[in-house]
């Protein structure tokens, strides 16, 4: 009954070697996964909403090499998050000069319930911690990423 990280992300939403090398393509590639899993109903609407948030806020890249593009969108059916790792990293703007090598694409439904949002907020909080990020860098498979998430991200 308790909500867990498995409710918002699965191994199918984890990409350890992203093909894309720039921001828009990266968001599109990750959004495709969300659509394929039936978590986002309309790819273009969702991607537009995410890009709008990126423009408004001046980008979501951060000093620690993490980017968290995200949107609350009508096109989202289930609160979800997709994760991608890229090397050497992609510029997501924001306050950071540094390219982002860990990307979390967050999809929240409009009027989403508190618990799902709260779980996503826990994930955001963990990203501040170096040890958590290091485990994500070091993971050798999507299953290992899931392992880490299960350990560290709980309600």
């Amino acid at each position: 009954m308790d909500l867990t990280i498995d409710d918002v992300i699965t191994t199918d939403l984890i990409i350890l070697d992203l093909d894309a090398t720039e921001r828009d393509a990266a968001i599109a590639e990750m959004a495709d996964r969300l659509v394929a899993q039936g978590r986002v109903s309309d790819r273009d609407t969702y991607v537009n909403d995410v890009l709008e948030r990126e423009r408004e806020g001046g980008g979501t890249g951060m000093e620690m090499g993490v980017a968290i593009p995200h949107a609350k969108s009508e096109a989202v059916t289930n609160a979800s998050v997709a994760f991608a790792r890229t090397n050497p990293g992609i510029d997501f703007g924001g306050d950071s000069e540094q390219p982002s090598t860990l990307v979390f694409l967050i999809a929240a439904p409009v009027g989403g319930d508190d618990l799902h949002i709260r779980l996503l907020s826990r994930l955001s909080r963990r990203l501040i911690h170096e040890s958590f990020r290091q485990k994500l860098y070091d993971a050798s498979s999507p299953d290992e990423v899931m392992e880490t998430l299960r350990e560290e991200v709980t309600l």
Binding site: R53, E56, G57, T60, M62, E63, M64, I68, H70, A71, K72, G94, D95, S96, F104, I106, A108, G112, D114, I117, R118, L120, S121, R122, S124, R125, R126, L127, I128, H129
Partner: protein, 491 residues
Amino acid sequence: MKFVAVTACPTGIAHTYMAAEALEEEARKRGHEIAVETQGSAGSEKVDDAAISGAVGVIYAVDTNVDGRDRFSHLPSVEVTPGEAINHAARVFDRAEQAVEEGVSEAPAETAASGAGGGGAAAAATGGGGDGPGRSSRGGAVRQWLMTGVSYMLPFVTAGGILIALAFLVGDTVTVVEENVYEEFSFGALFFKIGGTAFSMIGPILAGFIAYAMADRPGIAPGIVSGLLANEIGAGFLGAIIGGLLAGAIVIGLKRVPFPRSLRSLLPVLFYPLIATFIVGTLMILVIGEPIAAATEALTAWLEGLGTANAIVLGTILGLMMAFDMGGPVNKVAYFFGVGLIAENVLAPMAAVMAAGMTPPLGLALATAVRKRLFNVQEQEAGKAAWVMGASFITEGAIPFAAADPIRVIPALMLGSAVAGGLSMAFDATLRAPHGGIFVFGLVGNWPLYILAIAIGAVVTAAGVIALKQFHRTPDDAVDPSATTTEAARA
């Protein structure tokens, strides 16, 4: 230092929470405390009044509107974006610490008047005149410390007071206080034991958290120990307040001592609590305890010498004493004077003592009911419990009000109790039980007029409290944050 912070971003999913975590992490590294209000999509958990009243500054990490900014407007502040908090939390705290030191609000969006660069301008604006937000003046700071202590102590008063009232209700009112629940079980004895235990923490918690408000975590141990010693030397809650202030001041002093770098990590866990606890304990026992014992003895002798010749004068004096320190040495002298005379079958002073002990909580309950806006939310709630405690002759129900604002509350309580005590004697009321409030009204001689005496005393108390609070009004007394005059003071 203790901070509050608000984090908020337009979407409220990610940055709001990352910024909160980043600030909490940095606060932990620096040994600060911080209560963060995340105004995001997962519902916003408000930081509570206790956190706000204990805080020395506020950090806004926001790029959208802040809800309820006026709750914090009396605090020195810095305002940054969530991104700055996430990426450069250290820098944000450097600025926050500086703002606290200078007492400056760093250009919050809505009040351009504070000016960005100036160190002194805003401090002068908030400090001058004495009716600006409390933090900046010395008196305001003391008041904040007391309020923090009271906010942690209050639950002990309400829980303990209501349990003791229940003990009087279900047990034999006269004997329940002497029953030993471990030897012979009864529900009355059980309630009384638990309630009494909660009451024994009033002083320690009050002192502990006054010191905490002043000196952070290292203040707690010396503060609590000073409160325990205040219990032991019979110094009451006023003794606990003194103990807490001393403990806090000692720790603040110790923090200024330039200890060698190699010892720094040991300071907060070993040296501060050890040295401060020792010093404050010594002061409590030798400097405060001895004179209190001597004064108690002298006061008792004086009261006994007074005799019962002039009944109304005696009742008035007993009333003044009962309300002066509510459970402290002066109160105890008056109380035991009344109890002692029961054995000699002189029953009027005990009635006066009980009347004067019932009016402080009753009068405060009445005052919170008729003039809500003079009291903060916590006090309004405490006011409801004070009805029960007043009716049960549990004078401690008035302590939270008296401890938060002694200079204005205690005189009003003394006035009302003097009236109640004097009238009780004038009406020839008698009582042969040492406690119990309305539960022993059956034992009161001349009870209809006795009730009148208590009612008049309570009304006088309430009127006095309201008059004194209104007379000397400061913005942080107001309940409703929107009613504060902070914006006006800034402009």
